[in-house]
């Protein structure tokens, strides 16, 4: 009897420092969040029984962890690429299992529009969600923005925005919605939209991505304002950004936070070689390269 | 003679749900000697199994103590002296009979060669040799029972605790087991057995204890029960003189007649005078005198029913 108690006590005393050490090892490890295999959404929904919200949240969480780890430059040590298609599939199943899961919609809007331009898919998710979250202004608001900013379908955009504005008295939103009707400057609307998104997000990783996006858009805005001033002074569009710097319209060339270089396209629009995304500079699939 | 099992004021209280207390065994005092076959008798739920489980360490006593083979109280030492056959035994059924015996021999720290030779001997003795390489799962009830006896004999223990050793056996099996037990007795071993079959006790046991509702009610040697139990005699006459018939009318009772014989029952006290009468008579021929006993079954019934 005493011998067993002795073993129990000694082992417990020994395990405490060892576990502390293991805890340290684990928290400094490289997280390899796998998305892995997921059956079709119908099967998932049936097998989730009455734990639909929990399962939906779990799927979303997996996507979030996966995304968070890929986006963190210090932990990018695994020889795999970000698998957006899988991420989208998980979000799709997540919102299919529980169509009320706002986190998933929010994340889809934040991560899939700017970063990879899969507007149609995101819109499909949002449209489906709108049928369930009938009270939620977020969904029409996101849809409105997508139609305005990415799809250039201004009529539909304003319809969605009206719907969103009707649902809420949110000052930031009414302000933004109003500007949808009068403002033609996409960049400034984009900035307002991102500021809105940043204010509403709690996830640090998502926030960081959005902040980088905001910085980029603010610099584009800065350059666009430069072009406007150039036109006022010289009554013509500048040929290049370097010309604006040369003539002293802008003081210096801002850096693209994504690591690319800003340039003016044939229509005088501000563009960047990074296409506002990491890791695209060296991609050979990049069709419109830097001119010259 | 030396004491083999000594039980001192042993008691067991089971605590059920809602604090319900069941006193399964009350203050049992018992001493069983070497070379003695002790029969433990009692109706179902009287405390036989509780006693045996206490002795084998499956449960622990609430009060009192016991020692086996003079060992000083350590349960492990007790277990080493004992061969135990559980009631309706069941052994690891995926093992073969041979493997199980080897496992048991090993737990008694027996040497490899003696395990092999002993299990060979016992399997043959108990008529299991042909089945020794078959899994126990495929054994019949009687075969399992016989294997149970083999596994408690393999280390040639001084003390055997057998719980219902005859159950599940066919008549031949019973005779075999009875002979084995009698042989053990002849070799000076102590056998503590519980059984429902009173006849077996009469034949095998030296002493019997009857336990009722957790209490030991009766403890007596079979010899005493047998002599004390004679109530009278059945006498079968081939022929009778009138004088003896007259006599029988007063002291006896006619219980039957067939094929020219007459049988009478005569109470124990009247036997002497009747025989004296008959011996002077030339006509009267006695074919058979048979004692009529108050058997173990009557004693059992009396002890069990009585307060």
């Amino acid at each position: 009897m005493n011998r067993i108690v002795a073993v129990l006590v000694i082992a417990t005393l020994l395990i405490i420092p060892i576990y502390t050490r293991i805890s340290a090892i684990l928290s400094s490890r490289i997280i390899q969040e796998k998305l892995g295999y997921l059956p079709s959404r119908g099967i998932v929904k049936i097998s989730s029984l009455d734990h639909k919200s929990l399962l939906s949240e779990w799927l979303f969480f997996k996507v979030l962890l996966y995304f968070g780890e890929r986006i963190d430059p210090f932990k990018r040590q695994l020889p795999t690429q970000v698998d957006y298609a899988d991420m989208y599939r998980f979000l799709d199943v997540s919102t299919y299992v529980d169509p009320y899961n706002i986190d998933a919609y929010y994340f889809a809007e934040a991560a899939f529009t700017w970063e990879i331009g899969r507007i149609r898919e995101v819109d499909a998710l949002l449209e489906r969600g709108l049928k369930f979250r009938t009270w939620d202004f977020y969904l029409p608001f996101f849809l409105g923005f997508n139609h305005f900013y990415f799809l250039k379908d201004y009529k539909k955009a304003s319809q969605y925005m009206e719907q969103a504005a009707r649902m809420t008295g949110e000052p930031l939103l009414t302000n933004l919605a109003a500007r949808f009707f009068y403002e033609s400057n996409e960049t400034r609307i984009g900035i307002s939209f991102i500021k809105f998104m940043i204010a509403k997000t709690w996830n640090e990783k998502v926030k960081r991505t959005l902040e980088i996006r905001l910085k980029a858009l603010e610099r584009v805005d800065f350059l666009e304002k430069g072009v406007e001033r150039f036109v006022q002074i010289y009554h013509r569009k500048p040929l290049s950004i370097q010309e604006m710097v040369g003539t002293g319209v802008i003081r210096e060339l801002p850096k693209d936070p994504y690591g690319g270089k800003f340039y003016l396209d044939e229509k005088g629009k501000i563009r960047t070689t990074s296409k506002f995304a990491y890791g695209r500079i060296h991609g050979n699939s990049n069709k419109d390269r830097e001119p010259r | 003679m030396e004491t083999a099992i000594k039980i001192e004021s042993l008691g067991k209280i089971y605590r059920g749900v809602k604090g319900k207390r069941v006193e399964a065994l009350k203050n049992l005092n018992l001493e069983i000697l070497k070379g003695e076959v002790f029969g433990f008798l009692g109706p179902n739920g009287a405390g036989k199994s509780t006693t045996i489980r206490l002795l084998t360490g499956l449960i622990s006593p609430s009060s009192g103590r016991f020692s086996i083979g003079g060992s000083n109280g350590s349960l492990m030492n007790c277990k080493k002296m004992v061969g135990y056959l559980p009631e309706n035994p069941s052994f690891y059924d995926y093992l073969t009979g041979e493997e199980y015996l080897s496992f048991v021999g090993n737990t008694f720290d027996m040497k490899g060669e003696s395990i092999i030779s002993e299990s060979e001997r016992l399997l043959t003795l108990l008529d299991l040799h042909g089945a020794r390489k078959r899994p126990i799962r495929s054994y019949s009830k009687g075969m399992v029972q016989r294997l149970g006896l083999a596994q408690c004999l393999i280390h040639d223990p001084e003390i055997l605790i057998l719980d219902e050793p005859m159950s599940g056996l066919d008549p031949l099996g019973r005779i075999l087991v009875r002979d084995i037990i009698l042989n053990l007795k002849a070799r000076g071993k102590c056998v503590f057995m519980s059984t429902h079959i009173l006849h077996d006790i009469e034949v095998i046991c030296d002493r019997v204890g009857i336990i009722v509702r957790g209490e030991l009610r009766h403890l007596e040697s079979i010899q005493d029960i047998m002599t004390r139990g004679i109530k009278g005699y059945r006498i079968i006459f081939n022929s009778l003189s009138d004088r003896v018939v007259d006599r029988l009318r007063t002291v006896g009772e006619r219980i039957g007649s067939e094929k020219g014989t007459l049988s009478y029952y005569v109470a124990k006290g009247n036997m002497q005078s009747l025989l004296a009468e008959a011996s002077t008579d030339k006509v009267t021929v006695i074919q058979l005198i048979e004692p009529i006993r108050r058997g173990l079954d009557e004693l059992f019934e009396e002890v069990t029913r009585g307060n």
Binding site: L8, Y19, E204 | T56, K79, Y92
Partner: protein, 276 residues
């Protein structure tokens, strides 16, 4: 030598041997191992070839996942039935009256289960290696295959299973049904696998906003339940990442101590158990 005999007496090895024999002859064991071997040799090479870029990596991944799943089923199945079956079929009534202490019985049972799992894992890893070799022959990987990582991954999987097995023994030591050990062991597995993620989540800024109460609960869970994340070396095996020997030694020690703790607790309970 004397001490060693005291710790694991002959009787414990006897019980272990019997348990192992029972495991080897069990239909569930044979069937599961057979199905896994088939899947390693046929399904995994075929399935991995569907991956365009990393056939070998997918094969390793699938193999380890299969091993982990199959051996988990084996552990839970055998672990839960280990003592329950002996009680239910009244084998203990014949075994415990033999000169086998309760401790030897429990330790013997655990050793027997460990041996069953060791045999199962050995067969599984051997055949999965063949499957991986077949798969890697079809497409050359950029990363070298480190077999020592693969072996380490399987070995640490084994340690994880032994911890679970000790829990199964612990729950069986006082339970009279099969359900309590079953659900509790599965719960320990689930909790053990998420506790690290939960702890990291709690430590993150968002986690700080949770109610005090749930933070304390999660911390208690983190320190009391086994942290099974430590035993997951799949990524190291799949991508042939470097492993730190000292880290692994700590994890090994952790497993050994954890098993010791749970087994001695089981023993304290089982000694007092009345076998009716």
């Amino acid at each position: 030598m004397l001490r060693c005999r005291n710790l694991f007496p002959n009787q414990a090895f006897g019980i272990a041997k019997v348990t192992l024999t029972g495991g080897r002859r069990d239909k569930v064991f044979i069937t599961l191992i057979f199905i896994s071997v088939i899947s390693f040799l046929a399904v995994i090479p075929a399935a991995s070839s569907l991956s365009m870029r990393q056939v070998r990596e997918v094969a390793v991944n699938l193999s380890l996942s299969t091993i982990s799943f199959v051996s988990l089923v084996l552990t839970v199945f055998f672990g839960v039935h280990l003592i329950y079956r002996d009680m239910e079929q009244r084998f203990v009534h014949a075994v415990l009256p033999l000169p086998i202490s309760r401790g030897s019985y429990l330790i013997g049972k655990f050793l027997g289960l460990s041996a069953i799992l060791a045999i199962g894992l050995t067969i599984l890893s051997l055949f999965s290696s063949i499957g991986i070799l077949i798969a890697s022959a079809t497409y050359k990987s950029q990363i070298p295959m480190l077999w020592e990582n693969y072996v380490a991954a399987v070995f640490f999987e084994y340690l994880e299973l032994l911890i679970l097995a000790s829990f199964a023994v612990f729950f069986s030591s006082f339970s009279t049904t099969v359900f309590l050990p079953l659900f509790s062991t599965v719960s320990v597995y689930i909790i053990g696998n998420v506790t690290q993620s939960v702890a990291e989540y709690i430590a993150s800024p968002y986690g700080q906003k949770l109610p005090r109460f749930s933070i304390y609960i999660s911390k208690a869970v983190y320190y009391i339940f086994p942290n099974l994340t430590a035993f997951d070396l799949k990524a190291k095996a799949i991508y042939s990442l470097r492993m730190s020997f000292s880290d692994l030694s700590f994890i090994f020690l952790y497993a050994v101590l954890y098993i010791l703790i749970i087994l001695s607790a089981s023993l304290l309970v089982f000694r007092r158990r009345e076998i009716a």
